[in-house]
Amino acid sequence: MQEGSLEQAHVHAPPQGFIRKYIFSLDHKVIGKQYYALALVAVFTGMILSWLMRIHMVWPEAKLPFLEWFSKNGAPGGIITPEYYLSLLTMHGTLMVFFVLTNAPFAAFGNYFLPIQIGAEDMAFPRFNMMSFWTTFLAWVVLMLAFVIPDGPPIAGWTAYAPLSAVGRDAGPGMQWGASLWGLSIAIFCVGSLLGALNFIATTLDLRAKGMTLMRMPLSSWAWFITSCIALLAFAVLLPACILLILDRHAGTSFYIPAGLVISDRLQPHSGGSPLLWQHLFWFFGHPEVYIAILPSMGIVSHILVNSMRKPLLSARVVIYSMMSIGFLSYMVWGHHMFLSGMNPMSALAFSFPTLTITIPATVLTLMWLGSLYGAKIQINSASLFALGFISMFVSGGVSGFFLAQPSIDIYLHATYFVVGHFHMVMGVASLFGVFAGTYFWFPKMTGRMMNESLGKLHFWLTFVGTYCIFMPFHYLGLIGNVRRYQSFVDDFMAPYLGWHKFMTIAALITGASQFIFLFNLIYSRFKGKPAPENPWNATSLEWSIPSPPPWNNFGAKHPIVYHDPYQYGVKGSKGDFVMQDSPEQVVSASGD
């Protein structure tokens, strides 16, 4: 493909004034930081919600007075009610999947670094970019409003299955305005994400600098590009799904509601709809969404690993094609969430095959990472620790997928803690490790200061060991048939396993507390960190060829010209064992030929 078919002299004028510089900024770097800040608020909120859930689950009679102040209906006498537990669960999932895992690795880092890594001054559509952040922010505000309304947040889970989510207030507490706010928030979020995805695609295809062919893009940029292609189609399906849901709830339609339902002693005035339709639409979005959550982290980790190893990957091309295959296959597997939903059982076999097949590119990626480590010179720092930890986590989270991909096994493991362990390990941990790695790696570029290495390493060890302690036992509990989404276990069956639940809760509290080390490091280093040089990691990609932090138009007055592929490491360069992408010098291999 032709590189750089559009040469933009100036995408927008230099920002003037506080509002234009920091609030309604058109600068992709500011927008990236805004997304990051939003994700930070969301992840700490989501984490605290999970603490409340786990504390209640193992100590159901525990009185939490501050919670009663926050929600008198939700925690009378400080004891969380069954419906409030489900509200916490719903908001935890919604915040984490949408506002953390779609925002941080994709929107935050992608916005900041995609233009720079491809040598552009800014995104293709800076105004769309600004709108996409503020739309996402509005979605977050609408969602958080559910906490302050008297009836409380919705209780249908982040998956919001119909008819529970579609019939309105009869379905239970939180299902009147809380659920409507949820539907509205997600619909707005879709709009923001669609704008963002469009921007990423246009920017990648049109704004690459001279010499930056597609195959010369760093792997992180490839990951953002592939993710934005997935996101464009996925969110385009979730948006109408949410609109139909809102119509069912408020306009008397029956897209998702069949006839004859009696809820709260009332015959529901709907007929002709199908709850399966919601599941199809939701999971047609939902499965690609989880790859939207992991692919950018795969790209970020690949990018950082290469730098830490001082050696290119065995084949960047294979990594790119594997990521593309994962993106493509992600659209064929949504029915594996619906094996037991009442669909024709033949469809289970049809969906199972591509689900198992996705293991192939995932394994190729893992083998590329592992194989490239062979014979390398691995530099250990906070960023590379999290990148290596990602590999471990991705494998751990991925192998449980072998079980769930088979419908006969899913008969037993569906809706148990096995599933919860699986998706937390791949999304909640592995994907987040990519974000942590990216933060430690790119913080110097974004702020001009270094993060504290000792705190970073401490953060890594506590988090790495801690998340294994939390989420490994989820799989064991799933194997014995521990059902999910229960606010507490009131029956005899679970009594022998409550000790494990207590262990997981304590691990969660400790691991969660460790994240404050990271937060402290972020804030402290922002103001008091050691000044960072332009290229503290001796890295090759274009972001390391500009000052830390970069000027408003990234490359100053000049437009970079790219001479090499992004991972010239282990060579004899003028600055060391690497050659930067925009350096005109010839690449001489380390052995001299």
Partner: protein, 238 residues
């Protein structure tokens, strides 16, 4: 003193003592009676509480459903008898009407109380209940009450008789009768009721049963007489 004076003072003292006995208001009439049924009522089935072992184990034999409770002489229990017209509204008393969840049942099965009177709901079981009254005129709400949480305090500002159920335990059903004045009674075992202290006037007295509907009769009180009003409901086998 003459005999006339003696009679007057005795009558006067009797009147005064009648007032003292009856309270500050002038003693009024009393309406009492019995509520019975004719026909064959449905047989009450034992409640299947197997899904909630913490409650099921509280009973040696499962309790019967309470929608139709009959007694000797074809009497009907849990009928609320009240003055539906002719009496002025009364201010709510300061004591609360108490509704208890115990053994996964509502005690009492039908709770009668007044508009704006405090309704206090308590949970004496080891399991969480979710109390869901279903009014049409009043504000609908439902609240969970886990064990160990304080009593729920609510009130209703419109007169209405409506069902209340537990969302978590489908067999738990009861009735709230929110009434405008203090002249009401709920029949117990034997089906009898008494409405005392009715000032002179023309009244409509209504009896309401959750399965058999309601009936009304008109009575007139002129002084402090006692009147008898009986209600007979038609029972249904299903």
């Amino acid at each position: 003193m003459t005999g006339k004076h003696v009679v007057c003072s005795v009558v006067g003292m009797l009147a005064l003592s009648a007032v003292a006995v009856a309270g500050p208001n002038p003693a009024g009439g009393t309406v009492s009676g019995k509520v019975t049924y004719e026909g064959t009522p449905a047989k009450m089935k034992p409640i299947d509480m197997s899904k909630e072992p913490t409650c099921a184990k509280m009973y040696t034999t499962p309790p019967l459903a309470e929608t139709v409770i009959t007694g000797s002489g074809n009497s009907l229990e849990n009928v609320v008898v009240y003055i539906s017209a002719g009496a002025p509204d009364d201010a709510a008393p300061s004591t609360a009407a108490v509704f208890t969840q115990k053994g996964c049942r509502y005690i009492p099965h039908l709770l009668a109380f007044q508009v704006n009177q405090e309704l206090k709901i308590q949970n004496e079981d080891q399991t969480s209940h979710n109390i869901h009254p279903l009014p049409k005129l009043n504000r609908e709400w439902n609240k969970s009450q886990p064990p160990g949480t304080p009593p729920i305090s609510e009130k209703y500002d419109k007169a209405e008789i409506f069902p209340v159920k537990c969302n978590v335990h489908p067999w738990m059903h009861g009735t709230f009768a929110v009434l405008k004045n203090s002249h009401y009674a709920v029949t117990g075992d034997g089906g009898s009721f008494t409405l005392p202290n009715l000032p002179p006037g023309k009244y409509t007295i209504t009896a309401w049963h959750e399965s058999y509907g309601d009936q009304s009769q008109e009575i007139t009180i002129t002084g402090s007489e006692s009147k008898t009003v009986n209600f007979v409901f038609k029972a249904k086998p299903y």
